[in-house]
């Protein structure tokens, strides 16, 4: 007799992590994924900018740029924020599922595992 172990399909949520203690907001620079698409390990999800001068006046604003990348294989089912969105920590970014057709009428089982990567911004001065 053989048995095939199969993980149950679940929903995975992605919320904006508090990357820096003092951050009040993050600006989404780019969403690299589209609803219905699959993401693999290491897939880039979002690029974002954190400007700490949002929280306190600063002559030399500490501006940092980050990328969120996937550490789970999943399907993007719902995109909650796109480029230009200005979000507070813990705001929903996206909802994923471990199977492409998993019903969305259930609570997320856990958070999507991600990497947070400090990046060099792609744009120039303008």
């Amino acid at each position: 007799m053989t048995m095939a172990a199969r993980r149950p399909a679940v929903l995975l949520e992605l919320r904006l992590p508090r990357i820096v203690d003092a951050m009040a907001f993050a600006l989404i620079d780019a969403a690299h994924v589209a609803e219905g698409g699959s993401v693999g390990l290491g897939a880039k999800l979002f690029d974002l900018t954190i400007d700490l001068s949002e929280a306190f006046a600063h002559d030399c604003p500490p501006v940092s740029h980050y990328r969120l990348a996937a550490r789970d294989k999943a399907w993007l089912r719902r995109l909650d924020a796109g480029a230009g969105a200005r979000l507070a920590p813990d705001a929903p970014l996206a909802l994923f599922s471990t199977e492409p057709d998993e019903p969305l009428d259930q609570a997320p089982a856990r958070a999507l595992r991600i990497s947070v990567i400090g990046i060099v911004p792609a744009g120039g001065l303008f």
Binding site: I19, V20, G40, G42, C60, P62, I114, S115, G118, L125
Partner: protein
């Protein structure tokens, strides 16, 4: 010549227990041909020239009465070395007079209107300097400004108090600010090579842009930009008070640079050829005409680490032509990122150094090690110091450090200067 001064401004409260060598007061000073006559020296810094008074003994400071008001900001009094400034209550029965140690701080305003004489080196300056006189050969440290170095050089309260306290002198420290332009190795070189005609061409080009703008923001930004572009920190020779008179310093004995100033994308003027680099947020501070000019009159230039290395080598050669054996210190960068959570590099586009900022900083630091071997320079190991103190608390955004961080980096800068026997920077009796 005559030295005139304002009333005393206290840097410490009445009753403060001071350490030997600590700066306790300052006054505004002027160097005049006669007590009521015209300015005889420090013409461009005459409105932000200040004398800092340090006590040679530790104890409890008791203020002598101050004049207050504008008398403490304007030079109404003749400098008299016999003036009693404060009383210092010391342990035991010791009594008598002690001679204060005096250092001088000078600020070069962006424009004469950009003044604020309410504090020690307060106001908007393109350049700050400080020096302390003593017998012996002068040493000058020139720093191309950056946020990592500002607290190290200018100190927590301005006036380079900590540095002046730490060195025996005669020592002279020059700090050029990084607003709006960051002073890259290339920009320092280009400025040293530009002649009056080239500077005039830059001015005429900029005037054609901001002149018609009739916008205060454009004009203010343009004034700061032009002040920086038409100055040459490397070839400048400065006045200092020395041996009861005024002397001029020689070429810098040491340079303090930062890899953080070497941005990966510069702007090159399409017609005039000069290159500039500024932090992106500075562009937001420019007026609309200036922003349009930066966008249209310049082209972006991608800067590789090899190009930065070549610029450094050229700058080092130039500095050592002017001052053979000049000491070159370069601050490296924090190579890790406490906010990063990156278990592997799967899925990241190559080259990693151009995408992942911590990898880029590691590569820059490695380049500095190659440069140190090749050109006999010293690395100020900011990376190691931040790691030792705890980067999350002391260098949270990789750039802006705590007072403890600045103190440690300053101590390392001084250690390196002393190891190279840069004159004037030997330890003081108070360090």
């Amino acid at each position: 010549m005559a030295v005139v001064r304002s009333g005393w401004n206290w840097l410490v409260a009445d009753g403060h227990r001071c350490r030997p060598g600590e700066g306790i007061a300052y006054c505004h000073i002027g160097v005049r041909e006669t007590p009521g006559g015209p300015t005889a020296a420090f013409l461009r810094e005459r409105r932000d020239l200040q004398a800092v008074i340090a006590t040679p003994v530790g104890g409890v400071v008791r203020h002598r009465p101050a004049s207050g008001g504008l008398l403490d900001r304007l030079e109404f009094f003749l400098w008299n070395p016999d003036t009693a400034i404060a009383d210092i209550e010391v342990a035991g029965d010791a009594q008598g007079d002690v001679v204060a140690r005096v250092s001088i701080a000078a600020g070069l305003r962006i424009a004469e209107l950009a003044g604020d004489n309410t504090g020690l080196q307060s106001g908007w300056h393109a350049r700050n300097r400080a020096w302390v006189d003593a017998p012996g050969a002068w040493g000058t440290l020139l720093c191309a400004g950056t946020c990592e170095a500002a607290g190290v050089i200018k100190g927590a309260r301005g006036g380079c108090l900590e540095l002046m306290q730490a060195v025996a002198g005669p020592a002279h420290v020059v700090y050029w600010d990084d607003a709006p332009l960051a002073l890259t190795a290339r920009s320092l070189l280009e400025a040293a090579e530009r002649d009056a005609d080239a500077n005039a061409a830059i001015g005429a080009d900029l005037a054609g842009v901001i002149g018609p703008a009739a916008n205060p923001t454009d004009w203010m930004f343009g004034a700061a930009l032009l002040t920086q572009l038409q100055a040459s920190p490397l070839s400048e020779r400065c006045e200092v008070t020395a041996d009861g008179g005024v002397a001029h310093t020689a070429a810098p004995d040491a340079l303090l640079l930062s890899i953080a100033n070497e941005g990966r994308q510069r702007l090159r003027h399409r017609q005039l050829g000069y290159q500039i680099y500024m932090h992106a947020f500075r562009v937001d501070d420019a007026g609309p005409a200036t922003r349009a000019w930066l966008r249209d009159a310049f082209e972006p230039v991608k800067v590789t680490l090899e190009a930065v290395r070549d610029d450094y080598l050229a700058l080092i050669r130039q500095a050592r032509v002017a001052r053979p054996g000049a000491t070159i210190l370069i601050m490296n960068a924090l190579s890790s990122d406490a906010s990063e959570d990156l278990p592997n590099f799967v899925g990241l586009d190559a080259p990693l150094g151009e995408l992942v900022s911590s990898v880029g900083r590691k590569e820059a630091n490695l380049m500095l090690h190659d440069l140190a071997r090749e050109a006999d320079i010293d690395i100020v190991d900011v990376d190691l110091i931040a790691a030792g103190l705890g980067a999350r608390d002391h260098l949270p955004d990789t750039v802006h450090g705590s007072a403890a961080m600045h103190d440690e980096v300053r101590a390392e800068v001084l250690r390196l200067l002393r190891a190279r026997s840069v004159p004037g920077f030997a330890p003081s009796a108070f360090s």
